[in-house]
Symmetry: C2
Subunit: 246 residues, 2 copies
Amino acid sequence: MKISNRAMPANYLLASLPVQSRAAFLASCEKVSLTFGQVLCESGQRIRHAYFPLDSFISLVTTLADGSRLEVGIIGDEGMLGTSLILGVNTSSQHALVQGAGTALRISAAAFERHCKRSIVLRLGLSRYVHVLMSQLALTAGCTHYHVVEARLARWLLLTRDRAHSNQFHLTHELLSYMLGVRRVGITQAATALHKRGLINYSRGEIDILDGNGLETAACRCYREARDMYEQTLGSKHAAPEKQLQ
Amino acid sequence: MKISNRAMPANYLLASLPVQSRAAFLASCEKVSLTFGQVLCESGQRIRHAYFPLDSFISLVTTLADGSRLEVGIIGDEGMLGTSLILGVNTSSQHALVQGAGTALRISAAAFERHCKRSIVLRLGLSRYVHVLMSQLALTAGCTHYHVVEARLARWLLLTRDRAHSNQFHLTHELLSYMLGVRRVGITQAATALHKRGLINYSRGEIDILDGNGLETAACRCYREARDMYEQTLGSKHAAPEKQLQ
DNA sequence: TGATGTCTGTTCGCTATCGCACCCACCATG
DNA sequence: CATGGTGGGTGCGATAGCGAACAGACATCA
């Protein structure tokens, strides 16, 4: 039952909210373009806006005291950035940077908090996503610890594909190594292995997924698990999303 | 300004809530004893109760599709188990098992949700803890990935000490290896190293921290960071906690 | 056409951790 | 006092990933 009409990008988290609570909320949003590499919020800093990606996607990166960094989450049109605001906290504890350029709906922190206060169904709907994000954080912690780079890379490429809505996207090995917390050489080796198995192609930063199913087999099952968890909690992204402004 | 009166154990998360919202809440709670190894909720199962440890503490364990397990959080009298309920979700995504026997305040899921609905300050106070927990999940993901077993073990012992309120507690290498996701032998080696440096003693499961400050030096800075984050968001545990029932 | 910068591939020695197997020390119990 | 269970120590080869350095391939721009 996959609906393939991508002519009008939408945010499925917003689309999953009840109609009556959505109109007023959308009126406070503005559509913005996000450029690759843009930093939307920094760890420890005040959150100025919440973002609901439409066709962009955003990495959540945690920074340790010794400076090491690791991507712990990725947010596309299935989610939102700025969940802390739902919890009544207006500082972020992670960096957020744009991995895939595109558009997003943006709302100021103040307006967002106001809407959350006013509409219980809105807050509850978004709270469910906070729960999903927490579960995914825990899952990712385990995955990062136990699984080899090749499987993690495959998983990451699938996550990106789902959010980019395309089998092709731009990503250098350098950047991937940063996301997965390994050396660039480690990515090159894993990517070479996936390439030899005919699953992907890449050249100078242009990655092309040739065999999505094969890639899913190469990935750890964490990919499926995270996806299933989302659908169990928030319903299938593709189950007749209601029409949405913008 | 450390208050050392431990005669009447209290849960500091509850103590941090405004007085007026607390009385009714506490009336719905009952004091229960938790025994070592008890499973309080299972991944994917319905949550029956929320728990606020008094002198017990609880491990949050994530399970991957391939069966590997990893502890991703530890909950003592600074927090609570069952945060999903605050988010309007009544299934847990992690296992929770009792690491340190003792007492806790328990409240049924239904009553908990009712109180959250009624009292905004209650919900907001607990929501801040959800934020802390999320931040700690992200931190732990990075720590687990980058830091060596010895530093992680030191951190874990300090976390446990804080929650057990004692420099001595019972924990076998076997169990520690399970928590940290490494071989038992890996723990033995790390523990031997810490022992040789005069930081800890242990024998047949009885662990004794000899030099807390030294152990903190041996641990990665993630320990301090997590602690600081808690205090920044929820205030110091030891800043004159108001008197509390039970 | 050449110069420079970006992206990818390869190699080498090194370390942390793994998996497995076995042994020893201590304790409780019959 | 014998026995079995639990907790801890040691040793060995295997391996995933690290750090560093270098080389080639391609693109852009002067």
